[in-house]
Assembly symmetry: C2
Homo-oligomer: 341 residues x 2
Amino acid sequence: MARASDGVGRAPSMTDVAAAAGVSHQTVSRVLNGSELVRADTRARVEAAIAELGYRRNNAARLLVTNRSRRIGMIAAHLVLHGPGMIAVSVQDAGHKAGYDVSLVAVEDFSSQSLREAVGRLLDEAVEAIVVAVAHREALEQVRSLDAAVPIVVVQGVSAGQPMAVGIDQEAGARLAVEHLLDLGHRHVAHVTGPLEWVEAGQRRTGWQRAHEQRHVLPGPEFAGDWSPKSGYEAGLRIADEPDVTAVFAANDSMAIGLMSALHAKGRDVPGQISVVGFDNMPEAPYLWPALTTVDQEFSLLGRRAVELTLRALEGDLDPSTQLISPALVIRDSTAAPRLG
Amino acid sequence: MARASDGVGRAPSMTDVAAAAGVSHQTVSRVLNGSELVRADTRARVEAAIAELGYRRNNAARLLVTNRSRRIGMIAAHLVLHGPGMIAVSVQDAGHKAGYDVSLVAVEDFSSQSLREAVGRLLDEAVEAIVVAVAHREALEQVRSLDAAVPIVVVQGVSAGQPMAVGIDQEAGARLAVEHLLDLGHRHVAHVTGPLEWVEAGQRRTGWQRAHEQRHVLPGPEFAGDWSPKSGYEAGLRIADEPDVTAVFAANDSMAIGLMSALHAKGRDVPGQISVVGFDNMPEAPYLWPALTTVDQEFSLLGRRAVELTLRALEGDLDPSTQLISPALVIRDSTAAPRLG
DNA sequence: AGGGTGAGAGAAAGCGTTTTCAGTGAACAA
DNA sequence: TTGTTCACTGAAAACGCTTTCTCTCACCCT
């Protein structure tokens, strides 16, 4: 087989292939696009020529005329965090499997300007749709208000009633976590929140509240966190001083890690004196000390669903409903019944 | 300002802008490309028309004629792991900042076929260069042997003497870790390796060996891991039974976490009885119990350097040297002098 | 034999840019 | 006035493909 580029000239074009195969370039096009209207031997000749020349079709030219890029864009942020990172990877993966390229642009803040830029960059890449994986409420509004002439699908910070959205039911996850603790016999559960500008953080907090309401008990104290292990640690130092607190729901695993570390530092035993639940089920969760009870989100499913939704939108099916995926509680060693007395 | 797409027709073209501004489309082109040869008022008229129509230039058409996509490709794997994930994000980011789009394709295995596919997909996207962020030794060879007609830059699994490569000096990092333990007075250091098909895993292991050699002592026992916290945990169970081991160097933080968990489970104190060092400095490392001593890699710098190298390659400067970035040891609470006796 | 049919292949137009080349004025000097 | 220069703008070709239209030929039916 010949090298991809013999000699110095430019890459071979359809015409070159056609010449080599002794047909016209339209016939080559037909072969490439799997048309039935080509005799088997002609097709074979063309394919041989293609292999021989190492020809690959020029997508720019193709896009120019078809106007279909087979590319979808994704706007994301905070890719270093577990959740956002997983979502990005899974969407990208699902997109590829569906035959689409996916362009990721990471935004660093949610100013109208940087969002506009992100959308602009994506539009310049001729994306057919945009997946927004940004959990800030205003950010989403901003992007929507830009109304680029392509469908927009939301995968993060999703709440019921949103059109073209698929997400993991954060509130349900939080309830699972809190109910588990209440079921164990804890009177109430403290909460370390995520940054409340994040839709998810608000939803997890709501779930925490609702679970208490449902049992007609008052929620435990609330501590403000920002997803970082550090903020969890700081909350932990304060929690260690509240003798009343026997159970804590941290809005993500990273904060739970910091939290447990602070509790250890203060000589409080987990779960002996205080039970801890996280959220995310990061790979390390089962191997912490103690192994962390947490809420597992099926990110790969989310990615697949998001891409399905996008593809349907491209067919013109603008689904107004919101798909919510149920997360699951994974019970490990960091939770136990409260000590009596 | 007008909407991006008024009405139903197709997107406005240069000709439309030209008509609106009362010039020819070539003048519009000049304005877009920042040519000096346009009178200020003409330019203003054109710009007004552009804003008015919500025009954006069609990159496919542009690419077709310029043959410069301003896009670079990246092949990566295991994006869920801390290191690979960070590298991908940082390269992407640095690329964007340099005005390039970067297409990421994740491979799941390193068969010649899937690598060929990955390169093919990238080539179809008309990338001008390919950044390979795959740590398997054969994988790299495979990609190189495909010799796509674009420059290839390597950012992972880099070893000295490799052309067009920039990486973090894994061996140096490992030595830092081990020397720290030896300096504390440990007689030797055990090692939990990464999967040895990974270049990095091999290099960290080599660093561990060399550090011992330099002090003329024999290295401690070696345990095979695979980066996963689980494998660290399993190694930890065995290490707990080896009374001789007072210090362990785990090839990444995840394994260190599992390791410490197993030691706790077995009632061994860290660092009281056994010191532990990790590698990666993941965000949770400072907030583990105990806070983990580990090796910090400056991924963002790596990304920037990789893109610089790529850009230079595109200018024709094929740098045959290998850039190695020095990692740094971060000392925390998981390491201490061995107990005497 | 004549005409209809359908498979297969070619010709030509067009997608929206950039590039190269050629033109148009105005200003200025001779 | 005439030519020369300079700043600016327009015309046309080309990039590599798909799409639509047309043509050819073999085949079958009547």
